[in-house]
Amino acid sequence: MSKLDIKNGLIEMGHGSGGRASATLIEEIFVRHFDNELLNQGNDQALFSIPAGRMVISTDGHVITPLFFPGGDIGSLSIHGTVNDVAMSGATPLYLSASFILEEGFPLADLERIVISMAKASIDAGVPVVTGDTKVVERGKGDGVFITTTGVGIVPDGINISGDLAKPGDAIIVSGSIGDHGIAILSSREGLQFGTTIESDSAALHTLVAEMIAIAPAIRCLRDPTRGGLATTLNELARQSNVGISIQETSIPIKAEVKGACELLGLDPLYIANEGKLVCIVPAEDAGQLLAAMHKHPLGQNAAIIGNVCEDAQQMVVMKTAFGGSRVVDWLAGEQLPRIC
């Protein structure tokens, strides 16, 4: 088989044909970088034994512009996103699959850069990519690269975490500063200069989750506030659990540069996406100890209790403002759009 010209080559329709060109692409880019025993077997599926417990599966499509951004890229994001979705059930993520939809004309060098980043994220997380798929679409019918990842994991016995379990009186914890990912993307997408580089918080949270569960097995809800940000996640949890949520603006960690960028653009940081943060609802009596444990983990250093669950048949999320008033933090209607003035 002829070697790929990774430095100068482009994705061609033949790379998705299933023939020799596909095999070369898979061999020289995917298998080479993901390199693990199950994938290297070269089957169309990965066969493995599973430990006892309940199994979790989650899948996520990754479509992002730009593909490379401060603090990450679509590759690492596609690992972190799915590892986190699995971990938010309290599970230990075990394996991942990855499906690539590549656009004809996409540079092989960029593809390799993405796959190297993905492989690193997967190795760092200890969750290997064990099977996958590649398709090529004609030029103009894709956006460079779309990646779908699926993850499986096992929930330990005795752990029961779900969005419908929040109860009045519970404490709400966020694992760190919000809005970093969304602002990093926005700044690189729109070519906006904020005078400081805001990096995405993209990270795999399962080791943090494992430590949290060890300290507070009674955790009721976990969710990563990705698209729609903290506000949307809190509204989802309030609706699922049929409760109200009360938060304090002054308790929510937000970096000054994220705040500043949001002010400039007329955006609300509560609705900005995150890729390395989680929201946790836990019985109030466990909150202090849990928070102290989170502070010891690198991804939970800035964790904070931001409010509590209350009774409310209307399932409202209400924020006490720093100004002394209160306001509703409602579902976002459509996209959050910058104001004119």
Binding site: A313, G324, R327, D330, C341
Partner: protein
């Protein structure tokens, strides 16, 4: 954040609120119109209503650029992009505003129209420079705040002799709209929180006639929450004293005469438009600007022979009355049922500066709170 946090100090807010409660006379009402959507946004975002005594009430005015743009102008822009091979660039919050026939720029984009969201007029110019083979039209809207940047890019485009760039001008002017609301006498207004960003351009003196003629006090108020609450106190004091003058709370940015450079830039590129339709206010004379004949080559209305499209507002929608300060959003039959932020029927439900969108969130909370 330097220069932001100083204007969001909760303790100072409580102090000012206490003064308002002390000074507002219990036997009278203080109906204060916040002209700008930016103020509406601040009032709801920071929960300022909670700090006010019951007899100090906010009436929402027409100062939201997307709310006052009639549906017909958006329909005209959609027609332009669908019938011509153009790239239409616009500020973001115009995308979801309902045009006629349940349409919007966002829907036209989904149908294949090349409609792009920009942060500034300069971005639109850059798109024109990068796409010389296509006609690029900037859908310009806004009050005097956004008019100078549009004038600046028109001058640049003219100097560069760019042949593929033009502006669909929808810039409107604040004082005529304020005059109209006060002259109509439909809304009971005891004082006005005057536009802040607009006033940095046109100056506080631009509203002197409004105050003199209609005997209503006006305070130019910044958009930060402490600005708003301090301005309320200034208005309460003027009302108590029976005065009706222009006061400037936003002295850190607004001068009496405004920004002369911006004014001359606007005058060089734009001229008064004899008539312009406002959503909710109808056709108002000399209330908007159009591109001067010297820059006619860059006027999209002329270049593409754009025709005015008359579109009736949705039946039952009282956005016009809300924009005139006559009704509160929750007095509309469509409010919260047929008209929601997910499926807005009127413009006031679209923008985060829109009174209906603010009421929708906040009103539900209030209802829940009063039940409890």
């Amino acid at each position: 954040m330097k220069f932001v946090d100083e204007y969001r100090d909760g303790d100072v807010a409580q102090l000012l609120a206490r003064l308002i409660r002390q000074e507002a006379k219990p036997d009278r009402n203080y109906r204060l119109m916040e002209f700008c959507g930016g103020h509406t946004h601040a009032i709801f975002r920071f929960g300022i209503v909670d700090l006010m005594p019951d007899n100090v009430r906010f009436i929402h005015g027409p100062g939201c650029p997307v709310c006052v743009l009639p549906a017909g102008r958006i329909e005209a822009a959609i027609k332009l992009v669908e019938e011509n091979d153009v790239i239409l660039c616009t500020y973001a919050d115009l995308m979801r505003v309902p045009a006629g026939k349940r349409d919007s720029l966002q829907k036209a984009k989904a149908r294949g129209g090349d409609i792009r969201m920009v942060y500034s007029a300069t971005d639109a110019l850059a798109i024109a420079q990068a796409n010389r083979e296509k006609q690029v039209v900037f859908f310009a809207i806004g009050f005097e705040t956004t008019t100078p940047p549009t004038a600046a890019v028109l001058k640049i485009a003219n100097a560069m002799q760019l042949t593929n760039f033009s502006v669909f001008c929808n810039h409107v002017e604040t004082p005529p709209a304020m005059m109209h609301i006060l002259s109509a006498g439909e809304a009971k207004i005891d004082g006005i929180l005057g536009p802040s960003h607009v006033s940095t351009i046109i100056g506080s003196q631009a509203y002197a006639d409004c105050c003199d003629k209609y005997r209503v006090p006006l305070v130019i108020a910044g958009f930060e929450p402490l600005d708003v609450i301090q301005s309320v106190l200034m208005l309460v004091r003027q009302i108590n004293a029976g005065e009706a003058s222009v006061e400037n709370q936003y002295t850190r940015a607004v001068s009496k005469g405004g920004n002369k450079k911006a004014q001359s830039l606007m005058a060089e590129v734009f001229e008064q438009r004899p008539l312009f339709e406002w959503r909710g206010l109808g056709v108002l004379p000399e209330s908007a600007v159009q591109i001067r004949s010297e820059f006619a080559d860059f006027d999209a209305e002329k270049r593409f022979g754009m025709q005015a499209i008359a579109t009736a507002d949705i039946k039952g929608c009282i956005c016009p009355a809300v924009l005139r300060g006559m009704n509160n959003p929750d007095e509309c039959k469509l409010f919260g049922t047929a008209c929601t932020p997910e499926d807005p029927k009127g413009a006031c439900m679209v923008s985060s500066e829109g009174a209906c969108a603010a009421y929708y969130s906040y009103g539900r909370y209030r209802a829940a709170e009063s039940k409890a």
